[in-house]
Symmetry: C2
Subunit: 134 residues, 2 copies
């Protein structure tokens, strides 16, 4: 291997390694076209564990299969565990519309229909989505 | 440069490059010790822009300076923009306690004291924190 090729390899490596480090330092994300929404759900107490399992499956598939689904952060309120909150972030409207048509989302919707007592979708304007990245 | 050393370099590079790729594919994060909280705030309408500026400054500093502050996702409800929600994720209790003692947090708290009409902190148990990473 020639020295010049080694140097090129090392330079490429440096660039590749610098890219993620840089993004880790960036708190602000461009959020103009992003859809950021907070879902507030109340779940039937008797079906809570089944609901959580269905939700986990849906989130796992959405994050893995859909490039435009950026975060689905699901949590239950400690003081009232049947109250579920989901922070949903989509790259844009098209990504959100595509999400609604996926088999995993349709499966989740059908399976949990009788478990969700109420659902409120709060549309939001991001102020700053600060994250470490990974 | 000997061939063996080049191989070692290439192997190290591969390992380094594989690590972030793997994490990007992982939807589930270990969340046992994590603190995940939803803050619900009502802001004085007349001071809303000043409040948002102070919040942005605080989030930017927290994400940049504190290893244990993982996300601070701040958003305003579209239908009621004085209603602000912040999804706060900390690595653990120690990281959260350290956050409260930082100069940037104390500055934010003092500056916004007269702007925040109400503040509710909802402690949560994560169901699944699904994210693409970056």
């Amino acid at each position: 291997m020639k020295a010049s090729r080694v140097l090129t390899l090392q330079a490429s490596v440096l660039l590749l390694l610098m890219a993620p480090s840089y993004s880790r330092l960036t708190a602000q994300e461009p959020a103009q076209s992003k859809i950021v929404r907070l879902a507030e759900l109340e779940i039937d107490q008797a079906q809570l564990e089944k609901y959580k399992a269905a939700l986990r499956e849906e989130i796992e598939a959405s994050i893995r299969l859909e490039p435009g689904v950026l975060t689905l952060y699901a949590m239950a309120l400690k003081d009232n565990p049947t109250q579920v909150r989901i922070l949903e972030t989509y790259a844009d409207v098209a990504a959100y519309r595509a999400h609604l048509e996926t088999p995993h989302f349709k499966k989740y919707k059908a399976a949990t229909q009788g478990m969700v007592k109420s659902l409120k979708l709060l549309e939001t304007d991001p102020i700053l989505l600060g994250t470490k990245g990974r």
